[in-house]
Amino acid sequence: MCTVCGCGGGKETATAGEAVKRIDDDKPQNHEHDHISGRDHHHHDAQVSNARHDYGSGVAGLHVPGLSQQRIIQIERNILSKNAEYAAANRARLAAAGVFALNIMSSPGSGKTTLLVRVITDLHNRYPIAVIEGDQQTSNDAERIRATGAPAIQVNTGKGCHLDAHMIGHALDALPLVTGGLLFIENVGNLVCPAAFDLGEARKVVVFSVTEGEDKPIKYPDIFATAELMLVNKADLIPHLEFDLARTIEYARRVNPRIEVFVVSARTGEGMPGFYAWIDRHAEAARATMKAAE
């Protein structure tokens, strides 16, 4: 195991058509990589766009940075300080590249991947777009993204219920980040756990579909409180449902008075221009910040 960054031994296997990286923290192995190469984090073999990072193949079926790794003494320490360090490094790296990164969170089945396919199809002429896909198992979502032509890294968390900043750092090693581009991080479908883990994104977005029921924002307030934007998806289904849109927005604003809301349908494209204008504003700000730092 690497004692500098804490990442696991490099037991790697390849399956048909893709590279699979297995990271077993409990099994120290020979593990070589360069920590003084001038980049701010560590690198394994970077397999662009076809890579799948599997964090669920350890003994516990769960990879968690912070356990049996490099330690730094702090008294009165934030329990997630290690994740915060990785997130800060990711954030600095994305800011230096002028990339606007979004952490997309929702319950399973809200339409996150369909939404991303729609965004890539509509915006690929205006922005270079890359995607990190988080799921417990399978590369299905990354394959859907790659079918659009955009590069995608699949991160499999195994039994893990969320992405963390260390996983994102490794995924960034394997993704071509283009200056002024967009990075979408599709978190594991879960309305609870992803709220706790800063990934180094610029903005958190919660996707909520109209089939889920109006009261999700007050049933699962943490994730709605942590997001800057709520996309109410599957709006094309509203005529077929007893769904009170105004009440949903009222509930979301009760837990987060500052949350912005767009009502969209990833299937029909309805409402998406509002979301794109929001992206344009933030992507422009990310580029301006990068230029100011130069």
Partner: protein, 113 residues
């Protein structure tokens, strides 16, 4: 489930602190867990008991402080205290609250045998 991940982080910090201070057995931990954090104290205790087995912290008792959430009402200006995100201003019932902190997840101290 994320309580398991968070316990892994906590155990990593404890292991390190213990080595640094020559501690071989931890008997008590004092944590500060904000009421607006994503952690439920009972779920955290359950996860910790399972995760700490076989470590120097397996006998540690968890003392979890949950300080009240302080907030200022934007409507009437009153200072108020909350137990959850869904509460309203204690003075005027307003829902527009400026919340000050409440999402802490900190290890404050450990007691060694």
């Amino acid at each position: 489930m994320h309580e398991v991940s968070i316990c892994e982080h906590l155990l990593g910090i404890l292991d390190h602190e213990a080595r640094q201070h020559g501690v071989t057995r931890i008997t008590r931990l004092k944590l500060e867990i904000g009421r607006l954090s994503c952690l439920d104290p009972d779920a955290l205790r359950f996860a910790f008991d399972a995760m700490a087995l076989g470590t120097i912290a397996e006998a540690a008792k968890l003392q979890i402080d949950q300080p009240p959430i302080r907030a200022t009402c934007k409507d009437c200006g009153a200072a108020t205290e909350l137990d959850s995100r869904l509460e309203t201003c204690g003075s005027c019932g307003g829902t527009r609250l400026d919340i000050l902190g409440g999402d802490e997840m900190r290890l404050l101290e450990m007691e060694a045998a």
